[in-house]
Symmetry: C2
Subunit: 458 residues, 2 copies
């Protein structure tokens, strides 16, 4: 047998805690603000929406947060996930680079999302809530939370951005198969939805609009709490099992990654993989470049403003300092539905701002080309979101080839593309829209950034 290509951790190496990078940050994360007062949001303001345990995790700066046993029990269904070396892809590219990928597509619903979903469903059930309300774009989060809700006996209601609801009917069927209810947003179920529909009856929706609907429902129904698929600190935290496992697996493989890559929409899978490596760098000085790969059609990290903005369109929630395109920004209907959000997680934005991570944006066709190259070599058909990470990894490997250097690249295969076949059909038929996002559209969205000046915060 030639060199190993698969690194499987034994079950007993499953991480027993999540890693909180806030413990190791050289500069603290700017606080989330109450939009009315301009003051940092406190625990009390969040209790109508979230269970106390999650709120405490949101504010925590402790390095290690213990994973409760019932969550570990569920994680064991599919975790630890494999780490693989993409030898066929390396050969195809003729690169001296070593390309590793963490295979989060091996999770039950086909993406990394159950890492967070299982944790949230557990804490929400423990807090005594009966219902979980949330939003989904492409549906990876929606199906993960539908599954997690089934496991913990919660009624799950998912507001799905209407354009995705219509583009991806099978994601909806998957959620329903797990027993969840899926509603196209904007809907008539909420004041926020009705207002949006009154202004534009044909609105195709956005994650920001769906978020307003979910917040409204969770805030008004005492039995319901809000599920967050990304953006806040704790969904990012729950994904650090990815990177903690990968740290051990890279050690098994005998390499420290020079470059770590993940695709970013909200930032949760990227941070999940990168944070434990970045923490080691911050604490022990072992250098690693972490690259966040985003779509050129929704380039919050590479072209957004770093400013306080709302996460939701109706401005019902608080404001966070982040790279944003403005909460009124309507991203074009690219197939990487999971990457279509106007803002980036405050934690990821902060890491970018203080120079700990880098960002790069790609057009769609280049991403599909990379994804298909990967599929033909490794077998797994990647999600359109993951294709951004693959594109970045291939580009880095080709640079290694040009330079004649053998760097070690690790990327996160955040999910498979089995529910995104229309995207591949469109790409193969030459129908993928690859227009550049023009500055005028962006400027118009920036003009809607809140003018509220936060108090006590520079």
């Amino acid at each position: 047998m030639s060199e190993a290509i698969k690194f499987i951790l034994p079950d007993d190496k499953l991480p027993k805690h999540w890693y909180n990078i806030r413990a190791d940050l050289p500069q603290p994360l700017p606080p989330v603000l109450n939009a009315a007062t301009g003051k940092p949001v406190g625990v009390e303001e969040l209790t109508p929406l979230f269970p106390l345990e999650l709120i405490q995790q949101e504010f925590s700066t402790e390095r290690h947060i213990e994973i409760p046993r019932p969550i570990l029990e569920v994680y064991r269904l599919w975790r630890p996930t494999p780490l693989r070396r993409a030898r066929s892809l390396e050969r195809l590219l003729g690169t001296p680079a070593r390309i590793f990928y963490k295979d989060e597509s091996a999770a039950p619903t086909g993406s990394f999302k159950p890492n967070e979903a299982v944790a949230e469903a557990f804490y929400i059930r423990e807090a005594g809530a009966k219902k979980l309300v949330t939003v989904t774009g492409a549906g990876q989060w929606g199906s993960a939370i539908a599954f997690a809700g089934a496991l913990f006996g919660l009624q799950v209601k998912v507001f799905m951005v209407r354009v995705s609801y219509e583009q991806k009917p099978y994601r909806r069927v998957l959620m329903e198969t797990y027993g969840a209810t899926c509603i196209p947003s904007p809907s008539k179920e909420t004041e926020a939805g009705r207002r949006t529909l009154a202004a534009d009856p044909t609105s195709s929706g956005s994650l920001a609009i769906a978020a307003s609907e979910a917040i409204e429902l969770a805030a008004t129904d005492p039995d319901a709490q809000l599920g967050m698929g990304s953006l806040l600190n704790y969904p990012l935290l729950h994904n650090t099992v990815i990177g903690l496992e990968a740290l051990e697996q890279m050690e098994m493989a005998g390499y420290w990654p020079d470059v770590i890559i993940g695709c970013v929409g909200g930032g949760s899978n990227f941070t999940g993989l990168a944070a434990p490596f970045l923490g080691k760098m911050l604490r022990e000085g072992q250098k690693v470049r972490a690259i966040a790969a985003e779509p050129a059609a929704c380039p919050s990290l590479t072209r957004g403003r770093y400013a306080y903005d709302f996460l939701d369109a109706a401005h019902m929630g608080p404001m966070a300092k982040m790279h944003t395109l403005g909460s009124s920004f309507m991203p074009s209907g690219i197939h990487a539905g999971g990457l279509r959000f106007h803002g980036m997680a405050p934690l990821v934005s902060h890491l970018k701002e203080i120079g700990i991570i880098e960002a790069v944006a790609f057009s769609q066709t280049g991403c599909f080309e990379a994804g298909i190259m990967f599929a033909r070599c490794e077998g797994i058909l990647p999600g359109p979101e993951s294709n951004h990470a693959i594109r970045a990894a291939i580009d880095e490997a080709l640079r290694c080839k040009q330079e004649g250097t053998a760097r070690t690249i690790l990327f996160n295969l955040s999910g498979h593309g089995n529910f995104d076949m229309q995207a591949y059909a469109d790409y193969l038929a030459g129908k993928v829209d690859d227009r550049e996002l023009d500055q005028k559209t962006l400027d118009a969205a920036f003009a809607n950034l809140p003018s509220v000046r936060p108090h006590n915060v520079k």
Copy 2:
């Protein structure tokens, strides 16, 4: 941590050989016959269609057949697959039974099919052929062989039964993504297809018709050879890696299975799991019940005749002794497309005939119900084919509950249902057709069984 639920074999335990149950059979398998002469088919007759290595495997009665290193290298991408104990499902059922499943959905294209596909593509490439022609029903085989073809640089052409081609456009897209060509059958590309279309221009096709098209093309193009997704001995042989791994994993788990279950269409995933256990029983006497689960709409093992019949509709290929509904039988459009074939693999038929295995047939709704129960407990959405195995496993577990006995059940999760969402949508909407197959239809198909009396064979 409570009791283990996942049994992962280390890479170096990957089987180095396939297991050939013919070495341990108490009675030999009846030969395949040349329809014109009634005499057993010899190696020479098969050489226009298949590489010599595969033909030799087809006739072999050696117990162990070595897996060539390049095939092992590819297997390592996803093998060994996990064996899991379905603890949540056991709890839900309240059964004392132990339910284990071998997770073949973890393979790149989402089913067990790459086990065979990689082997066939390798041998066909080694034999110098440039093209591989084959047929697919639901598309699991088609996508696996498309992937394997990409790995070994073969042009792959897949005749897909028209009803599935139209029902499952995304399976076609998947094949095309791997670089294969997919043609709805009956087609105008072959004499057999043109003849069928002349008789019935709206024919929705069958695997038997598609097989005639593929045989014709492979026989007339010297650059092409025929890929077989099931039925013959060697595709069944190549799947024994499943059972060989499971043997070791059940040992890790500390249980010998009392009952082994697989769904059957042609018989390849069932045999792949069961044969190594049955071999141990035949050689060493350790008792195991092996149950083949088939759809009531296409019940070859439970209601078919055990007789010599053709594998293809145009009767271009040889005749095999098998449980058959007649090669003119048109199964109804059930969603378990992989189980829609008029005949059963001769080896499986023989095992049934000599009393080594059992068979059971299920209606569709009961299978979907079982599959959804499984999905909500274990996360993985099973293929409609696999739901037949799950139904059988749940029924057995419920019998254990009634009897108060703790039997150990092992079933094969042959594949996931990510490409079968329309099936789940139809089931959830109450639109699954569950009519019983009437005896009149069956009698009409039996009337078309070949009257040719084979010579030299009773």
